[in-house]
Symmetry: C2
Subunit: 299 residues, 2 copies
C-alpha cells in the first residue's frame, strides 16, 4: 500500500538503493500545436520523435557579436568571477559557466523574452513558461573538459523538485560548433525512457556535480544499450544557430583539444503548470540560481 502511494506521488523515482533501472516516460513531449506558432507541424513532429530540433540562424550575426562581447565582459569581471553563481574550471581556472545570467545581464533577459526564443518554448510546452535555469557556458579550446552522459530531468526532478517532464532547453551558439570542438551529442529518442539512477544524493551534491557529475550519473550498461539502440547525433552548427532539446534527452559532450572554444547561452524553460515542489530525492533543494523558485512567466 505504501509503495503504491509513493508511486502516485513520484512517477519518476530515482537515487534508489536498489540501483539503476529504466522506466517509460509518462508525459507528452509536445504539448502545443502548429497553430500556436512559430514552428510548423513537421518540425514539431520531428521534435516529438527525436527529442530535439535545431534552428539555423535563430539570431543574427550582429546579435551574436553583441552577446559575445557580453560574455567577454562577464567572464573578465572580478565580481562575476568571485560570485558563487560562477563555476571555474579546476585545472585552468577559466570560467566554465555563469548561472542565472537572465538576472544579471539585461541583454540576456531580453534574449530570453524574445518571441523567437520564448515563443518556441511556449509552443512545445503548450502553456506560459518561466525560466528554471539560465547560464552561459564556456568550453575553452586547447583542452576544454568533457561532460559525461546525463538526462537533465533526472537531476531537476531529484534535486530541484520538477514533478513532470514538461521542460525544454534552448542552447544558442555564440561560436561555431564543429564535430571536432566538443559539440553537444544527443542520443535521439532517449527522451522516451527515464533512467532511474542508483545511490542516494549527497548533501550539496551540486557543488561537485556541476563540474564532474556524481549522483544522477547513469550506469555504463544503460548508456551502452541506449547508444546501440538510438545512435549518437553530433550537433554541429554555426554561431547564431540554436538547439532545442527535451529535458529527458540523454546527452553529453567530448573534450576539445582544438584552438576553437565553444560558448553558448543556455536557457531552460519550464511550464507554469509544472512548477517546482520539494525535491524528490534530495535532502534540500539546490540554490535558486540553479533551480528557480520564482515562477513568473517570461515574455
Amino acid at each position: 500500500m505504501t509503495a503504491a502511494i509513493e508511486h502516485v506521488d513520484d512517477v519518476y523515482p530515482t537515487r534508489l538503493e536498489e540501483g539503476f533501472s529504466t522506466l517509460p516516460r509518462q508525459d507528452k513531449v509536445v504539448w502545443g500545436t502548429a497553430a500556436d506558432g512559430p514552428m510548423d507541424q513537421p518540425t514539431l513532429d520531428s521534435y516529438d520523435e527525436r527529442g530535439y530540433l535545431t534552428v539555423p540562424d535563430l539570431i543574427t550575426p550582429e546579435e551574436v557579436a553583441e552577446l559575445r562581447a557580453e560574455l567577454h565582459r562577464l567572464s573578465n569581471d572580478p565580481e562575476t568571477r568571485a560570485d558563487e553563481r560562477t563555476i571555474i574550471e579546476p585545472a585552468s581556472k577559466e570560467v566554465r559557466s555563469i548561472f542565472e545570467v537572465h538576472r544579471t545581464s539585461d541583454l540576456i533577459a531580453r534574449l530570453a523574452a524574445d518571441p523567437r526564443v520564448v515563443g518556441r518554448a511556449r509552443q512545445v510546452l503548450g502553456s506560459d513558461v518561466y525560466i528554471h535555469q539560465s547560464r552561459i557556458n564556456f568550453k575553452p579550446g586547447f583542452g576544454g573538459g568533457d561532460f559525461y552522459w546525463h538526462s537533465d530531468f533526472e537531476t531537476w526532478h531529484a534535486e530541484d523538485g520538477l514533478p513532470r517532464m514538461r521542460t525544454v532547453s534552448i542552447s544558442i551558439s555564440l561560436t561555431d560548433n564543429h564535430s571536432f570542438n566538443g559539440p553537444l551529442m544527443i542520443m535521439p529518442g532517449t527522451h522516451r525512457t527515464y533512467v532511474s539512477c542508483g545511490g542516494a544524493t549527497p548533501e550539496d551534491n551540486y557543488k561537485s556535480s556541476l563540474v564532474m557529475q556524481g549522483a544522477g550519473t547513469p550506469d555504463q550498461e544503460t548508456i551502452t544499450k541506449m547508444a546501440d539502440t538510438y545512435g549518437i547525433d553530433v550537433l554541429a552548427g554555426a554561431a547564431g544557430s540554436a538547439i532545442m532539446f527535451d529535458c529527458n534527452c540523454m546527452h553529453g559532450s567530448n573534450g576539445n583539444i582544438t584552438p576553437y572554444p565553444r560558448s553558448n547561452v543556455f536557457l531552460v524553460f519550464n511550464s507554469v503548470e509544472n512548477t517546482a515542489v520539494a525535491p524528490f530525492s534530495a535532502p534540500a533543494p539546490r540554490p535558486e540560481f540553479i533551480g528557480a523558485r520564482d515562477f513568473t512567466p517570461v515574455g
Copy 2:
C-alpha cells in the same frame, strides 16, 4: 661559419632555447610513382598535397576479427601488461599502447609485411623500408584520454635521430571510427611546414611524453595559425580501413565519452635511405622498442 655547418648537419633544428619557429619542409613527400603500384597517380598526388590518404577496406572483416582477438589476448596477458613496452593509462589502469608488436606478435609481423601494407609504404617512400616503430593503440570508451597536437617527425628527429622526412605511418582501424569517439584529426597541408619547438629535451622524456606530451609539443600560437590556415579533417572510417599519413602532419585526437572504444594497429615505415643516426636534440636515443636501430627491410 659554425652556424652554416650546423645547418648542413641538421636541416630541422628543434628544442632550441630561442623558442618556437616554423621552417619549410626540405624533403619530397612522395618519392615513388604510380608505376611502382599499388596506388594510382591521383591518389599519390592527393597524398602529396594533403599529407595523408585513407584506404577503405584495406583488410577484410575476417582479418579485423583475428586482429581484435590478438589485441584482446595481448592486453589481458599479465606478462605483456608488466612489459616496459606496454603503456598503461594512469587513471583507469587500462592498456593504452603496446609497442614493438611486430616482434611479439606473428600476426602483426605478417600484417606489416603484407603487400597491401608494405607495398604502399615502399611506393610513397620510393625505396625499401623498415619498421621504425610499431604499436597497438587502445582508446577506451567512457572517458578515453585525448592526444594533443604534434608532428611525429619532430620527436623522431630530435629523440630518435631520423635525419630527413622520409617516413610514413599506416594506422589500420580495428574498430569503427566515428566523429564522436576520438578519431584521428589531421590539419591537411601542415606536412609542408616544420614546427621547431622550444626548450631542451629532459632525460627519459619518452616516459612521460608517451602519456602526456611535454618537450616537442608545439605552441598554441602556431597551432591556432595552422588550424586557421589549413582547417581540421576528422578521419572517421570503418573497421578494416586505414589511414596513411606523412611523418610531419600536425595531428591529434580528442577524448571519448562514448561507449565505443577505438583501437588500431599503428606501423611506422622509414626509408632504408634515411636510417636513424644519433638523436639531433636529445642526450641519448630512446629505447629500441620506440625507435628501432635494426634497419632490416620488411617484406
